[in-house]
């Protein structure tokens, strides 16, 4: 199977060339890793009259750490983000999530930003982005640069190009769990959590986000509020699982029923919290 005709294919070398092209071709589709896009083009679920290939744009693949801030460029590949020592140390949930994406070949080409831009509700990066207060670094067709919170960012308007994503964390431990039907599958449900524990084992700065159950990932605000300043024990985590299941209405779709997703929420929320607690108890590196 192969795509429909692609009339125009551009290979810009700079961000300004990208924005110029997007201004001239409002219907252009951007190509980064292509691991989500190519299957859609081949299935002809999507047609690309104009394709803008980002893979040769200078300076887009950087992974930069500055204190508690991590900036991942649009073309930073999953495999390179995984290998980054600061990512492994401070953003363990991101390591968990990327490790569960696709396979080795997919991770050699696919990109973190591409997953967010693609916007599939089963995407594994979105819940991780939410727990780390992610910001999108956007460039508009007029060259204007804006930074916007990922959580409140609606569908990408035509012509805005995500140049990078910034994640923030200093003290929190984190973890991510994904459930699919089979190995390497898309998520039926994914959950990311981050918090630190104080010297009395109380949870601080709790963030928990769910993916795969509805269009768009979501923070579990009631669960966060319950867990904040509380100490974790089995009774509490089980209660939090039930609370999450009560506050979320998952969708029914071809991957899973709403009932099954509800059951997974009951199981996965306690599990991810326990994973984070286990990581907070590790000796500092």
């Amino acid at each position: 199977m192969y795509p429909e005709h692609i009339e125009q294919y551009f290979v810009p070398k700079s961000v300004s060339e990208v924005t110029t092209l997007l201004g001239q071709h409002p219907d252009a589709i951007l190509l980064a890793g292509g691991q989500s896009l190519l299957p859609l083009l081949k299935a002809r679920a999507l047609s690309a009259r104009t394709l803008v290939d980002l893979n040769r744009v200078d300076g887009l693949s950087e992974i930069v750490t500055d204190g508690g801030r991590l900036q991942i460029g649009a073309l930073a590949r999953y495999c390179d983000v995984l290998r980054d020592a600061n990512v492994q140390y401070r953003f363990a949930a991101l390591v968990d999530a990327i490790s569960a994406i696709g396979d080795r070949q997919v991770r050699n080409r696919g990109t973190v930003v591409g997953s967010l831009a693609h916007g599939d509700h089963t995407g594994d990066i979105a819940p991780v982005a939410l727990i780390f207060d992610a910001r999108l670094e956007l460039v508009r067709t007029n060259g204007e640069r804006i930074s916007t919170l990922f959580e409140t960012y609606a569908d990408q308007p035509a012509g805005e190009f995500i140049q990078a994503i910034g994640l923030q964390n200093t003290t929190a431990a984190s973890a991510f769990i994904k459930h699919g039907r089979v190995a390497q599958d898309r998520a039926i449900l994914s959950v990311a959590a981050a918090f630190a524990c104080d010297d009395q084992d109380r949870c601080i700065g709790v963030r928990i986000a769910l993916g795969g159950v509805q269009p768009g990932a979501m923070r579990l605000v009631e669960v966060e509020d319950r867990l904040e300043a509380a100490t974790v024990d089995t009774t509490l985590t089980q209660d939090l699982g039930k609370l999450a299941a009560a506050t979320v209405v998952p969708q029914d779709d071809e991957l899973a029923s709403a009932d099954y997703r509800t059951q997974l929420i009951r199981v996965a929320v306690p599990a991810v919290i326990e994973n984070v607690v286990a990581r907070t108890r590790r000796p500092a590196q």
Partner: protein, 170 residues
């Protein structure tokens, strides 16, 4: 809708004017006539039989457009052996019976070649199975493939750095 591109495959340069939508796997098979790289699935890119090296890393050539590989160095299964001398990984597949019909085998060999060269290579069964999860085999049940990788790792470890460099693709 077309553009001229040049791709080096196994050290040989191939020039052609191709449609933008031409997949890299179809360039390799139909333009370069290297049919050792296989197409085993529809649009999803799940089967991995098309795996090749592009600029040194394993990718699924059905999930790339040929135009994206303009100016790149590609290595396919045809380039793995050195004339008639099998690469230790190929020899290990032979010794350990790591194939039956052979359709998926080029995908496994190129992907596992990439994994063997990874600084984080881990010969444990769990790590090998995870590394090869992007290639599907309907014949073997994977057990002998894992054993072949472990044998190849041992063979490669016994070579000198110079000997290993000679085996390197690209």
């Amino acid at each position: 809708m077309k553009r001229p591109i040049e791709i080096t495959i196994n050290g040989e340069s191939f020039d052609a004017t191709v449609e933008h939508r031409l997949l890299l796997v179809d360039f390799i098979r139909d333009v370069a006539n290297l049919t050792g790289t296989h197409v085993g699935c529809g649009f999803e890119g799940r089967c991995g039989a098309c795996a090749v090296l592009v600029d040194g890393t394993a990718v699924k050539s059905c999930l790339m457009l040929a135009v994206q590989a303009d100016g790149s160095k590609v290595h396919t299964i045809e380039g793995l052996a050195n004339n008639d001398v099998l690469h230790p990984l190929q020899q290990a597949f032979r010794d350990k019976h790591g194939l039956q019909c052979g359709f998926c085998t080029p995908g496994f060999l190129m992907t596992l070649y990439d994994y063997l060269n990874d600084p984080d290579f881990d010969p444990s069964e769990e790590a090998v199975r995870s590394a090869m999860s992007g290639v599907l085999c309907r014949c073997t049940g994977y057990v002998h493939i894992v054993e072949a990788v472990q044998q190849a790792a041992q063979s490669l470890a016994q070579l000198s750095a110079a000997e290993r460099a000679l085996l390197a693709a690209g």
